[in-house]
């Protein structure tokens, strides 16, 4: 067990040495992988940021339900209880028509106009805070409330957030397609690198087979090479995105100051960064594995 761990360490050291022996080729390969990965991952980072911004601006979604004129206090109490018992409702707020008028006076600066009214035109209203926040469940609740006889008008206050959500969904799909395509490119790059390595090491592979090397032993250095090259490519993508964000934030700073906000683009979280490294390592390993399976058996000692 300890012995095999030492063997693996030896292969890893040997692989790093091999990368160092051809610095230009290695660097170019890693950069190409890094750039390929940074496109979809960068898209993902931007989406995450836009989504965070949208949530921040949308606040908690709420539903306003306006009662029909002339609904009596008994009825209001009954509806209030029904709403509180509703499974999808977290809590509610009752806004009597007098209070609504006062708020309108205060908030809109229409004090004169409103004051001139002989009669309060506003209905009583409930503001309903739902438990679930996703668009679909919100709409379901709104439609349910609409069917209640005493509600004259029911309004979902986050319709624009819903539209944005649909747009983001589309953008996420685009990023996903891009990621799939460029992952394939990463696998292809590694496949080819390993193919060339196998060709140049034909003699060593042949002799090793002749003196009793198992297929696993012969495969191992190539698989590690793919894995490590993929991991370094992932790290390169991370750095490319980090420097892009730095530049974007720098130019964003001037823009944002106008609005006195402190909005900055955030990089991948620690978890996402590790996932990126793991994924790129896996793709490198996969490319190497495919290449080795394809080419190694062709080298049989004669």
């Amino acid at each position: 067990m300890k012995n095999s761990a030492i063997q693996h360490l030896r292969v890893i050291r040997f692989t790093l040495q091999r990368l160092r022996n051809t610095p230009i080729a290695s660097l170019l390969n890693i950069l190409v992988i890094g750039i390929a990965l940074s496109l979809p991952i960068g898209g993902y980072v931007l989406l995450k940021n836009v989504q965070g911004l949208a949530e921040q601006m949308a606040g908690t979604p709420q539903i306003s339900a306006f009662l029909a004129m002339g609904t009596g206090p008994d009825e209001i109490a009954r509806i209030s209880k029904q709403l509180k018992d509703h499974a999808a409702v977290d809590h509610i707020e009752f806004v009597p028509r007098d209070l609504a008028l006062k708020q309108l006076q205060l908030s809109t600066g229409l004090a004169d106009v409103v004051g001139g009214l002989s009669q309060n035109p506003l209905p009583d209203a409930f503001i309903i805070y739902p438990i679930a926040l996703d668009a679909q469940k919100l709409e379901l609740l709104r439609d349910d409330l609409k069917s209640w006889p005493k509600f004259e008008h029911v309004q979902l206050d986050s319709a624009w957030a819903h539209k944005l959500e649909a747009l983001l969904k589309f953008a996420r799909l685009a990023v996903l397609i891009l990621a799939a395509m460029l992952s394939f490119a990463l696998v292809a790059i590694t496949f080819n690198t390993i193919r060339l390595q196998i060709l140049t090491q034909r003699d060593e592979i042949e002799v090793s087979k002749l003196i009793g090397a198992t297929n696993g032993f012969i495969r191992r250095p190539f698989l590690y090479f793919g894995l490590i090259q993929g991991m370094l490519g992932g790290a390169a993508a991370w750095l490319i995105i980090a420097s892009s964000l730095f530049l974007l934030n720098y130019s964003l700073a001037g823009l944002v100051q106008l609005y006195a906000s402190s909005f900055t683009l955030k990089h991948l979280s620690l978890g996402d960064s590790l996932t990126l490294l793991g994924f790129s390592s896996y793709l490198g390993w996969l490319g190497a594995w495919l290449s080795v399976s394809q080419h190694l058996w062709q080298i049989e000692p004669k």
């Binding site: 012995n3 095999s4 030492i6 063997q7 003699d203 060593e204 042949e206 002799v207 090793s208 087979k209 002749l210 003196i211 009793g212 090397a213 198992t214 297929n215 032993f217 000692p301 004669k302």
Partner: protein, 217 residues
């Protein structure tokens, strides 16, 4: 140790390199394999190392039939064999020491123990002083001896040598034959192909004579 039973070997293209071979080599025996160029000596050795498989008949090495051997078991059979190739098959991207190290790396030996064994093997063939040299810088005789060092470093129970004294002058071939003799004395089974009459006269031992792929009696 090695047993051939009615072995035929036909190469793609239809040429019959070996015809109806049956013989047995016991543990610890030293046997010469003789015959003209093209008689089938290399082919016979390749059958033992399972580099080639017989078209019919059976080749049994250390109790294992090479034809029914699983591909996963093949490397472990080969680790019992020391192979000295006609064309040496040395690696020119590393020095003499690392060439001899290769079989031990493959078997996963501890590094320090391996280094000791490599030096012992190089010493045995008289190349200890050249351990840092690239094989390309070695003479034909030295390359041959390096190939022998690589074949014995793993302490094989069977040593197969394909014309190890091939293109060497008498002094070198005598040296190499003495090295083989010393393995024979410690119980290694040896099969050495040669068409060198001088060697055969100097080292009397059992000989298998091939002629156009057939065993002469």
């Amino acid at each position: 140790m090695i047993k051939f039973n009615q072995v035929y070997k036909r190469y793609p293209g239809g040429y019959e390199a070996l015809k109806n071979l049956s013989f047995e080599i016991a543990e610890g025996e030293m046997v010469f394999l003789t015959g003209h160029s093209g008689a089938g000596k290399s082919t016979l050795l390749k059958l033992i190392a399972a580099i080639e498989r017989p078209n019919s008949g059976s080749v049994v090495v250390k109790g294992q039939n090479t034809k029914s051997l699983k591909s996963g078991a093949l490397p472990y059979l080969r680790r019992n064999l020391g192979l000295v190739f006609q064309d040496h098959k040395l690696l020119f991207d590393r020095n003499a020491f690392d060439n001899v190290m290769l079989p031990l790396q493959i078997c996963g030996f501890d590094h320090r123990e391996s280094a000791k064994r490599v030096r012992a093997a190089l010493d045995k063939v008289g190349l200890l002083k050249r351990e840092k040299a690239n094989p390309i810088a070695l003479s034909g005789g030295e390359q041959q001896r390096l190939c022998i060092a690589r074949a014995i470093v793993n302490r094989p129970t069977i040593l197969l040598a394909d014309e190890p004294t091939g293109n060497l002058d008498a002094e070198y071939s005598g040296e190499i034959m003495h090295i083989f003799k010393s393995f024979h004395q410690v119980g290694v089974t040896l099969l050495i192909s040669t068409h060198d009459e001088a060697v055969l006269r100097q080292f009397p031992a059992r000989a298998l004579a091939l002629k156009h792929g057939e065993l002469q009696t």
